[in-house]
Amino acid sequence: MNERQTGSETLVSLWRISKSYHRGDQVIQVLSDISFDIARGEFLALMGPSGSGKSTLLNLIAGIDRPDAGKLLVADTDIVQLGEAALADWRAGHVGFIFQFYNLMPVLTAYENVELPLALTTLARRERREHAEAALELVGLADRMTHYPSELSGGQQQRVAIARAFITDPVLIVADEPTGDLDRHSASEVLELLRRLATDVGKTIIMVTHDRKAAESAHAIMHLEKGELSAREHLQAQT
């Protein structure tokens, strides 16, 4: 099933994307001929059973993996055509990452973790500090700036990771099971933050999740089944 968006401005456009892995002599087809668009400012949840290819799809859109075939445009850039160095530069400027296990640098404080991606920008130290402090304030952790990840709860670590994801003002934020390691209360805080980023700040967010309740925070849910799109649900906008 292929889905194309009409009407609103398209940020991400996939056209006939396929991806397979080799395990020994065996070829495992993970994604088959997938085409769909994601509008700018959309909060999209990707759902599907294990092995359906949703994380692979997320990795392709985020530019940390490459498809075997197809075209993948993000903000009018065909990222499939970019070399490794150019792709790294592109990710630094266009994509924010949120991982299931937070992936913070354990030797850096919350403030330093959030500031980390700004090291790749031309901002002055004072500007970096202002940005990082504002980001931590936005995620409600202004009083935890000097804490190391080991001194924070899972929910707090994920909020630091969210601050790190949007500190560079990327056009796209990808989140792979962002609530998968959190209790219900922390999960709802994280989802609330993501929803605010989409609705208030206008960020385009793609979130992979197993959790139907988490997915319902998004504007739309896309279902994958055995590497193919099976359905796209449009949910009522939440406030």
Binding site: A85, A88, L118, L120
Partner: protein, 384 residues
């Protein structure tokens, strides 16, 4: 956030592991420095000897002496400006472990060695007293000898008990010269032998020659040996340095073994360091993948890994370097008079620093290449 902060924090993440690695490096760099200094000490005598002096000995072996009558004939060779006599005495002071070199020398011997400084009054006292002896400052300090002290030696090559009186203590013009030695008058030895063992009298162990021009040393050597060609005691004349090196050559295998051990120590610590860096990098695969996902390139990851490796090696190597000279001084005092010159050279310190640097760089190559090559999606799956 700069790379240096991340490097230092990573280096201190596992304090015990880093501490043990630093301690290992310290020991390795220190051991390397001490072993190299032992080798240098072995060559110290040869390094300090002069090319302007020649040594003439029996061509068969040092064990065989030369007639005293050769002296005037050697002095007559063109280019020779002075000739002095020297016999190895080989006496024992109190007990064998108190070994130090003793030479019976002609009265003019010290004029050929301007690097030994002796007050004129002491020189005159030495020349007045047939049993007079001169001792070097290192030897005087070692046994607490003073001018006027009696110094009895038990002869081995020349049997009997030999009585000497310390008439002078000479210093070296610079610290590269060995002064752990004793000289006494060749006349005293010869006159005693005339009475006790006449067949051994009028024999000289080696002649020391000074030449007008060091550039002509080779030609003068050939000329001296030509004088005694086809005689009963043919001579072999060589520079003092070559003469000293012939002694060192007798210990070549020991020196080679010491050198090899010093290199092996560095190789072992290199393996330990490489293992430490490989473990650290493997544990951080997911972090490196995250950094890559955020847009940091392979060069940044390599900087982190090389930086951490070099930081650890700088610390361990630095401590090792700082401790080398004090350890050498302690070693020298423990070794007694075996190594009268046991100073850590600038070359050794530079070699130690270079070894620490090389260990730091080589140990980081494989982990840095692996981290640079890791695919983000594979790295993110890694469990730290």
């Amino acid at each position: 956030m700069n790379a240096l902060k991340l490097i230092l924090r990573n280096a201190l993440r596992h304090r015990l592991r880093t501490g043990l690695t630093v301690a290992g490096l310290l020991v390795a760099v220190l051991a390397y420095g001490l072993l190299q200094t032992v080798v240098d000490a072995w060559y110290a005598g040869a390094a300090a000897s002069s090319n302007a002096r020649l040594v003439t000995r029996n061509s068969i072996s040092l064990v065989f002496s030369l007639p005293v009558s050769y002296e005037n004939r050697i002095r007559g060779v063109d280019g020779v400006s002075a000739v002095a006599r020297s016999n190895w005495f080989g006496g024992i002071y109190q007990e064998p472990k108190n070994f130090f070199p003793q030479f019976a020398v002609s009265d003019n011997y010290l004029t050929l060695y301007p690097e030994f400084i002796l007050p004129d009054a002491q020189r005159a006292a030495f020349l007045r007293d047939r049993k007079g002896a001169l001792i070097g400052r290192q030897l005087a300090d070692r046994f607490g000898f003073k001018v006027g002290d009696a110094l009895p030696l038990r002869g081995t090559i020349y049997p009997g008990t030999w009585e000497f009186i310390v008439r002078g203590i000479f210093d070296a013009a610079d610290e590269t010269k060995v002064t752990n030695l004793m000289m006494f008058r060749w006349d005293y030895l010869n006159e005693t032998l005339r009475k006790s063992a006449p067949v051994r009298a009028n024999q000289v162990g080696v002649y020391v020659l000074s030449v007008d021009n060091p550039d002509h040393a080779a030609a003068v050597s050939l000329a001296v040996d030509a004088v005694f060609k086809n005689s009963l005691a043919e001579t072999l004349t060589e520079t003092e340095q070559a003469f000293q090196l012939s002694f060192v050559a007798m210990s070549n295998q020991i020196i080679a073994a010491i050198r090899i051990v010093s290199y092996v120590v560095i190789l072992i610590i290199m393996a330990v360091m490489a293992n430490t860096m490989a473990m650290s990098a493997r544990e951080r695969t997911a972090e490196y993948a995250t950094l890559k996902a955020l847009g940091f390139g392979p060069g940044f990851l390599a900087t982190l890994i090389f930086g951490e490796s070099l930081a650890i090696c700088t610390l361990g190597g630095g401590f090792g370097l700082a401790l080398t000279s004090p350890a050498a001084a302690a070693f020298k005092s423990l070794a007694g008079g075996i190594f009268p010159i046991f100073a850590v050279s600038a070359e050794t310190l530079a070699a130690q620093a270079a070894c620490a640097l090389a260990v730091g760089i080589l140990a980081a190559i494989v982990p840095a290449v692996r981290a640079a090559r890791v695919r983000v999606v594979d790295g993110l799956r890694a469990v730290g």
